[in-house]
């Protein structure tokens, strides 16, 4: 576990606890849980369930950012894969639907990875192409309308439950464990960090940086595909205009809140997911508070600023507290 959760997670955990406490103040029933049709029901479950798409995106995004890249196309990839899943859902079985959707995500990732790793394009430009074109592709698939389906298998992916937990939450948890096992159970994580830290030096040291970069974009595409399928399953339809809209920014924010630098290098999967949960805890709190919607974005910006300030190494007061807590010099 120490490999997954480094000591630097303290600021994020603190932030989450503070936001949870604020949520409890604005909404007294925040921690209430009950069973509804064999599924846990309450605001905490909403936080986990609604946070799932961004958490999944952040799992892929954190690896991309660790290689000093960025993937702006994840929201559009969600829309494409959701559209594919919804169009096939009523005529094909779940395995075919999942294979098609995840396969599409994989191809999108390959495309991004090819542009960045093989053609050497700057990641922000390379992925911008698919960000713009992807939504158009999704609209072509749905013909501009909301494609609805009733296939109980796919609906279960969005609204079912496993041991009382919503299925999306279980999937996100599974993906976190899988990704963690692969990158931290082997030297892969280290090689990704090396690629992001200094690609040229790593190349000279024998790291296959090109393969590393290609594979993180592919994984990012697969994670986005899964998020897209879940988003479609949730509303029993694919909305190409709105599915995953602006979520790439939330995913990047989650990674940054999780303490991973946009300049690449060291990363933490668990903290990125924690970052996604912090964002969603705040969003759910805003919805529960009953403030007029005009304040939503202001409150969000203020909280994000506070969380990032909490992590700022220049904020000496906090650094001093951290140092004392750790028993080391600042």
């Amino acid at each position: 576990m120490t490999a997954l959760l480094p000591r630097r997670g303290l600021a994020q955990i603190l932030a989450l606890i503070v936001i949870l406490a604020v949520d409890r103040v604005v909404s007294p029933q925040f921690f209430d849980l009950r069973l509804q049709d064999g599924r846990l029901f309450g605001s905490l479950i909403d936080v986990l369930n609604r946070g799932t798409p961004v958490a999944l995106l952040s799992l892929g995004m954190v690896l991309v950012i660790a290689t000093r890249g960025i993937d702006l196309s994840v929201g559009a990839v969600m829309a494409i894969c959701g559209a594919i899943a919804a169009s096939l859902a009523d005529s094909h079985g779940l395995p075919v639907v999942l294979a098609a959707a995840l396969g599409a995500g994989l191809i999108c990732g390959l495309w991004n990875g090819f542009l960045v790793a093989v053609l050497g394009m700057q990641p922000i430009v390379a992925t911008l192409i698919l960000m713009v074109a992807g939504r158009g592709i999704a609209q072509l698939i749905t013909e501009g309308r909301i494609v609805t389906f009733s296939s109980p298998d796919l609906v279960w992916l969005g609204n079912g439950s496993v041991l009382g937990l919503p299925v999306p939450v279980a999937i996100a948890l599974g993906m976190l464990i899988l990704t963690g096992a692969v990158v931290r159970g082997s030297a892969l994580g280290l090689l990704i960090e090396a690629t992001g830290g200094n690609a040229r030096a790593s190349e000279l040291a024998g790291v296959g940086t090109r393969a590393m970069i290609l594979s993180v974009y592919v994984w990012c595409g697969v994670c986005a595909a899964l998020a897209g399928v879940i988003a479609a399953a949730d509303i029993m339809g694919a909305d190409a205009n709105n599915a995953g809209l602006w979520l790439e920014l939330d995913a990047i924010l989650a990674v940054v809140i999780g303490g991973t630098s946009l300049f690449g290098g060291r990363f933490s999967l668990v903290l990125a997911v924690l970052g996604a949960l912090i964002i969603q805890t705040m969003n759910t709190g805003i919805l529960l508070s009953g403030y007029p919607p005009e304040f939503n974005l202001l409150v969000k910006a203020a909280v994000v600023l506070a969380v990032l300030l909490l992590q700022s190494p220049k904020l000496s007061g906090f650094a001093g507290i951290m140092a004392r807590l750790r028993g080391t010099k600042p």
Binding site: S43, I235, N242, L288
Partner: protein, 321 residues
């Protein structure tokens, strides 16, 4: 030139001369915004149907949400000397010069669905639009009538913050329910006009209002958010349409599906048929010189579960919503 080609050429010439013979019918150019939403797609299909009904030759130019494309389309319609131009303006400003060109060419322009800024009033014949304040009022009146004197806590799913339609639909509803002290809007939050956000916001409303027990009705600024909210209610073990009344606006096919299932109560139609009244106005103007009023308000029909939702669904599902 082979005899075959000669025949083909003369046939083409004959066809060209034959055309004006049945040109009593009108040729109208329609600069459509683009496929921004399902409603827009339905408006385009209904316009084609209405044109076919009246034997109008309708030329539709898709502007892909860009004003410069619309201006280009209008100029090309002027060059083709059409009988009238329909314009669904993507923005409200910047039309003066192109509309002047149309006026100089004596081609009447009819605005569809959206109005433009007041400085250009004399530049167009009329505007056929819906009154979104009135739509909100129709929804509010229905709720007031249905609830009667019972105390009723209403939660509201607003459209995108800053969108004029959202502000107007809120205003109309608020004015209508303000006359009834037993109706109270207890929570109001934006669902961005989408299903996913409508569902998420409704989930939070249910938690915040005692598991939904304190909610008597939901009002959504569009049907898509209501479809999401209905799912949220079902997942919370509530019965939408029975435990909690629903009223929304737009009348898209999926809300009728919910009505058939007894999960939705009422919707206010934003008719996709803006072109129909516009065709009639243009025909009257061309034939008798009748000058229409500057604003033609389309009907905001209230449709409830009692109005044969299955039939409404069947008639709307093929329109491209």
């Amino acid at each position: 030139m082979t005899p075959k080609a000669l025949f083909a050429a003369s046939a083409t010439v004959a066809l060209l001369f034959a055309l004006p013979a049945n040109a009593a019918e009108l040729t109208i150019g329609f600069s459509q915004i683009g496929s921004e939403s399902g409603w827009r797609a339905a408006e385009t299909s209904v316009s084609k149907q209405e044109a076919a009904k009246r034997k109008v030759n309708l030329k539709i130019a898709d502007a892909q949400q860009k004003q410069e494309n619309q201006i280009k389309a209008i100029r090309s319609f002027i060059a083709q000397n059409v009988d009238a131009i329909f314009l669904a303006p993507v923005v409200s400003t910047g039309w003066d010069s192109v509309l002047k060109e149309a006026k100089e060419a004596k081609i009447p322009v009819v605005l569809l669905d959206r109005d433009i800024d007041p400085s250009g009033k004399e530049l167009y014949l009329t505007a056929v639009t819906s009154d979104s304040v009135h739509e909100g009022a129709v929804a509010g009146d229905w709720l007031a009538k249905t609830v009667g004197d019972k105390a009723c806590n209403v939660v509201e799913l607003q459209g995108t913050v800053g969108a004029s339609v959202a502000a107007n639909r809120k205003k109309g509803f608020d004015t209508a329910v303000a006359k009834h002290p037993n109706l109270k809007v207890v929570r109001s939050q934006t669902g961005d006009f989408t299903r996913a956000k409508g569902k998420e916001v409704m989930e939070s409303f249910i938690k915040a209002e005692g598991g939904g027990k304190n909610i008597c009705a939901v009002y959504a600024h569009n049907d898509d958010m209501m479809v999401g909210a209905i799912q949220a209610m079902k997942e919370a073990g509530l019965k939408p349409g029975k435990d909690i009344l629903t009223v929304s606006i737009d009348a898209v096919p999926d809300i009728f599906k919910a009505m058939v299932a007894g999960e939705a109560n009422a919707t206010v139609e934003l008719t996709p048929n803006m072109a129909g009244p516009a065709f009639d106005v243009v025909a009257a103007f061309k034939e008798k010189g009748t000058v229409p009023p500057k604003w033609i308000q389309t009907e905001s029909r209230l449709l409830t579960a009692a109005d044969n939702p299955q039939k409404e669904y069947d008639s709307k599902k093929g329109l491209g919503y």
